[in-house]
């Protein structure tokens, strides 16, 4: 059958591009940095290339080194694989034929959406064949009666939201990466984002999926009904499976009516206990229109100011809250928001604040929060942590991390989705220190567990946190995950080195 040696011709026909290639800022190969052992997979060879070219045509089989680069490296520049090929299917049938072939030939694959993941789940570790979903971007149907949208999985989140907006609906998921991330990738990582507090998680909002199994079998779980209890709800297995159980090709999403009125309050506060009090008050006073509660500490705003030039419109405070409402009546919502802010000021929970309802001003306030991750690319080294915690321990975690690190890094800052207990805890340093990084990771994992939290709130396990899988789950749950993986992907060709240690 196939021999295991590398396809030499691949290197030859790409060599012309190497001179124009910039290696600046690229991370070292993941396999070197993390000392991973390659699995027993076949190597990509000329006959495989010919099969894929026959199936997809030359244009949708990418082997050019420069083009490959953006698929081999993650958005955060933390990981780098060395895949020789990116496949760009347009249909479920093509995905099915690709997987059937890869499974039969023991070729490992790495499914890739918008490649905005933060845990390295969407880039290869070795030479896995990348299956990019970017050309599967058709919106198939929007049902105006029910607000359900059916689409291919490669639709960009923002495009999907624009399409449903025209029919009066809103996608119940909002992320900083919305301009690049795919809905299929969102489902695969069970993305949480800013508005989970209002619309709930994807397990609640995804009605149906079409998934291609490792062996190429198309699994039709496309049930468009909000209520359907005809057997096990298998779709939920794939939500958050990070491409290790199948490749999601179609999605049916339930969209709520689009709010007509939006208000954002940006508040300055003195202490974390006031942050908590203000949050509780917001939940009580704003009730059903509360759609986001984001917190940022002073260091976060300072970091954003330095790296992405955003400026707090209310001056300097130890803490900032961004509280958003979305509702159906501008008059009622304005009344609720202003009454809430006034009362929070009178009760001395809040020191200063501004409220915006005009779209441009609302966007401006949101940018203070959303642009933070954009700054990371401009730093030397960033230790990114995405944890969830009982909210009483939410900021204690940041304080304890600061005490632990002392002055061994330039800055430690905390921000995130307070309303859902989801903290993005980051340490920034101009110089990279391997020992420090390792001990910090351990510290955060141990502390989070001590506080009864989760070591991965919304970013998933991916490659970054795979050794936490047994720790973060009971032994029974861990073994059941292994069994489910074996059931759906017995040759382990789907996104190897991810999730499982």
């Amino acid at each position: 059958m196939m021999s295991n040696k590398l396809l030499k011709s691949m290197v030859v026909f790409n060599v012309k591009n190497i001179s124009s290639r910039s290696f600046k800022n690229l991370p070292d190969f993941t396999k070197n940095t993390f000392n991973v052992e390659r699995g027993f997979y076949n190597y990509f060879q000329e006959p495989h290339l010919r099969f894929f070219q026959n199936l997809l045509g030359n244009e949708r089989v990418v082997t050019d080194l420069i083009d490959l680069e953006k698929h081999n490296v993650d958005w955060y520049l933390q990981f780098r694989g060395s895949s020789d090929v990116v496949l760009k299917p347009k249909t479920t049938e093509e995905v099915s034929k690709i997987l059937e072939f890869c499974n039969g030939n023991k070729l490992a694959v790495c499914p890739q959406g918008g490649n905005t993941g933060a845990s390295g789940g969407s880039v290869p570790v070795f030479d896995e064949i990348i299956i990019s979903m970017e050309m599967m971007n058709e919106i198939i149907n929007i049902d105006e009666d029910s607000g359900t949208v059916t689409c291919q999985s490669g639709v960009i989140l923002e495009s999907l939201d624009k399409a449903v907006a025209e029919k009066g609906f809103v996608v119940p998921l909002d992320l900083g990466a919305k301009g690049s991330c795919h809905i299929g990738g969102n489902v695969a990582t069970n993305a949480g984002g800013m508005r989970l507090i209002r619309y709930g998680n994807l397990h609640g909002n995804i009605l149906g999926l079409e998934v291609v199994k490792a062996n190429g079998e198309v699994l039709n779980l496309l049930k468009p009904m909000k209520k359907d209890n005809t057997g096990f709800h298998l779709k939920n297995l794939f939500i958050g499976s990070e491409g290790t159980l199948g490749i999601i090709t179609k999605v049916i999403l339930q969209c709520p009516p689009r709010p007509r009125s939006q208000h954002v309050a940006f508040l300055g506060l003195q202490k974390y206990d006031k942050v908590l009090k203000t949050f509780k008050k917001a939940r009580s006073d704003l009730g059903e229109i509360l759609s986001a509660v984001e917190v940022m500490d002073h260091a976060t705003i300072e970091f954003a100011h330095e790296y992405v030039q955003t400026v707090s419109p209310i001056g300097d405070y130890p803490f900032y809250l961004l509280i958003e409402t979305s509702g159906s009546s501008d008059e009622h919502d304005e009344h609720k928001v202003h009454a809430f802010v006034e009362s929070a000021l009178n009760q001395h929970f809040v020191l200063n604040g501004t409220v915006a309802s005009d779209h441009t001003k609302v966007r401006g306030l949101w940018e203070l929060r959303e642009k933070v991750p954009v700054g990371f690319k401009k730093c030397g080294w960033v230790g990114l942590f995405d944890v969830s915690l009982p909210i009483k321990h939410y900021y204690t975690m940041v304080d304890e991390t600061r005490s632990f690190l002392k002055n061994r890094v330039d800055s430690v800052f905390g921000f995130g989705h307070l309303g859902d207990g989801n903290l993005h805890l980051n340490a920034v340093s101009k110089k990279y220190d391997e020992t420090l990084k390792t001990s910090l990771e351990k510290f955060v994992a141990v502390k989070t567990t001590e506080f009864g939290g989760s070591v991965s709130a919304e970013h998933g396990v991916g490659f970054l946190k795979r050794r936490y899988l047994p720790m973060a789950n009971s032994p029974g749950a861990f073994h059941l995950m292994t069994d489910v993986k074996k059931l759906l992907d017995p040759n382990r060709i789907l996104n190897p080195y991810k999730i499982f240690p």
Copy 2:
């Protein structure tokens, strides 16, 4: 080891009760009515009895025939099993020991919550050992910061709601059976109910579960975080599994803040197209405070009047809508509701209507809807169908069923959760006609499928609809369900004859 003959002494020590037992109104044994073949399980014998008595004490091992009866028959009096014993564990450890023993001895079990299920999922078909969860009713913890409640699975839904109400939260699930059904049973059947339109499904609201597997292993999936992406979300496998994959022993539920204001509009309408227009208008005008949209046709209200003596407060109309709002401001909500009703009247969508905000009046209007199922027990024969449909076909289904049945039954009526496309379609007849029943079942299944709906919206598959499992799922999904069942319950001791054909 064990011999397979029946434990004769069981009959002997129960015989004293037979004389006082009333067989009136009890259905025939399911095994006879439906001609089912018993699986290859062992029979319950004296040594088994002794083991259970040692484990639980005599009081929690029920063998008295009269006491057994209410556990052997379902609430709707559709099914009747012939179990010789009901076990009433108080702890997870006891459930674990029971299942380990049953699995080792190939004894089939039937887990039972409040026994209010409508598809016969909670009663035995033959002599399965009933494991009643009624004594596992401890509310373990309510986290006031996050609104999460942790409890044993046998807590009655209404009791749970009362407990969280004291802390300012609401259970995001409301059913007519709330006074009897258990939260564990709700999870096991993925109960939908009245307020799914507002709070979403249980897949979105259940944060964690503890489940005992068939072999007695305790599976700890008790993660209390709203955001947690550390591996596959296994808990979702058990939501809607109807006791066939494990016994749910603990539940962590996310509860939203309790609304302060509640309004109910009860409206009379001429035609279904006006019902649809009014529903769309409600979704648009009432936005985020819309918490239930229930529809009833004239025949439903007539039926309720005859059997449970409720009376329409607005006179006779072909259709009725019950529209509920729940919000944080009485003033704002009242303004929205009155403006909506006024405008719906002016647009001639609605012919008559009444609005209530006072608790007693709100309860009164809800009773018109909630008491309907209570009437079923007083009829001769009721064909109960729980389907979901695209809402444009929602009432066409009722009309077509009437045409199909002509005057072969006394009445056909349709009511249900319009907001979620969930129709309860019922045919009532004083005399039972087996041929008619069979052809009606086929008709409803075929029509529902033709319309792109689901043959079981919220009632589950249970025993009643098990032969629909392959039809209602793609072949791949059906086979994967079978594989998952095999993985978790290789001896098939858990709730046999349910879900699977």
